[in-house]
């Protein structure tokens, strides 16, 4: 080869390179440690800063207004509920009234004579059965009470 090398170069280069490699590894580890510490410190600072800004720099009126809006909304809901209940109760009453009217109409539609004719045409056994039905049927009794 047309190249020359200084005397003892190959004897010294191993230790020299190893020392340099160890030194660089130490520096690299130190840098990693510093970067990690800085990253943690920066994250904590950012969190504290955000918290501080939220607590101290939010306009106080905004919170009250938000609370009022929420309350008025609730009140409206309650009103709507009450209105619905009133409407429901009214419809129930109407149903109830119409039932009574219907029953009255049924009863009022037959004369006493007609009823007597029907009863006369019935046999004793049939009358006994009707009496039994009257005793056992609770709704007939209830209707009587309503009519009274």
């Amino acid at each position: 080869m047309p190249y020359s090398v200084p005397d003892g170069f190959f004897d010294r280069i191993t230790e020299k390179t190893l020392d340099e490699a160890i030194l660089r590894e130490k520096i690299r580890r130190k840098h990693i440690l510093i970067w990690r510490t800085m990253a943690i410190a920066a994250s904590l600072t950012a969190l504290i800063a955000i918290g501080y800004l939220l607590i101290n720099f939010l306009p106080p009126g905004k919170t009250e207004q938000t609370a009022q809006n929420m309350t008025s909304g609730l009140q409206e809901e309650v009103k709507n509920e009450e209105f619905r209940e009133v409407i429901n109760s009214m419809s129930v009453k109407n149903d109830y009234d119409s039932t009574i009217t219907e029953s009255k109409t049924v009863n009022g539609g037959m004369d006493e004579e007609e009823i007597n004719d029907v009863l006369n045409s019935l046999t004793n056994e049939e009358l006994m059965e009707l009496a039994a039905i009257l005793k056992s049927d609770m709704f007939i009794e209830e209707t009587d009470n309503i009519l009274q």
Binding site: M1, S4, F10, I13, T17, I22
Partner: protein, 181 residues
């Protein structure tokens, strides 16, 4: 893929307690071979020394990522070659003229101490330095280091066919230079 001694070096390097011992063994085994590979590419001793140190320092740092699929010396060749390419490209950027850089390399080659009868070797080196970067790398690795194409593929990240073509062109150009000068 690795030989028994390479396996021993690897096991030493991978244990934190024996890492320094492993490094010494690795460097004593391969430093001369790697140094001459670098020297042929960068010409001056100072550059070759710097790159040799960088190569082994990188190997020390990244030994954990070495998977053992190739030989250690192939891996070291790859690191060294990449470092050489980086240096040469930085120099090219600074010089802005490739021919100027080649002339500087040739001038430096002429400045080195040489024994009598080595003129033909200097001429041969001149011919190699005049080659394009890729052809010079392939020729050096194949001719001086006698590496198989498969290993040169791993070092230079190219296909065998491309390597063969580059080697053929390099061979022809050197032959022409030696005959004409």
């Amino acid at each position: 893929m690795t030989t028994k001694s390479e396996g021993h070096i690897l096991s030493l390097l991978r244990e934190p307690v024996t890492k320094e011992k492993g490094f010494r063994v690795m460097m004593d085994t391969y430093k001369e071979r790697i140094y001459w590979h670098i020297r042929r590419l960068v010409v001056t001793h100072e550059d070759a020394q710097d790159i040799l140190q960088e190569t082994f320092i990188n190997a020390y740092r990244f030994i954990g990522s070495f998977n053992g699929k190739s030989k250690i010396y192939t891996w070291l060749y790859r690191i060294a070659t990449n470092e050489c390419i980086r240096l040469l490209r930085n120099r090219k950027k600074m010089e802005q003229n490739i021919e100027e850089l080649t002339d500087k390399h040739i001038l430096r080659l002429g400045e080195t101490d040489m024994e009598s009868g080595e003129e033909i070797l200097v001429k041969f080196q001149n011919a190699i330095l005049r080659l394009p970067e890729k052809q010079r790398l392939v020729f050096t690795l194949r001719y001086y280091d006698d590496l198989p194409y498969e290993e040169i593929c791993y070092i230079l990240k190219t296909s065998v066919n491309a390597l063969k073509t580059n080697y053929h062109y390099a061979h022809e150009k050197i032959k022409q230079y030696m005959l004409n000068n």
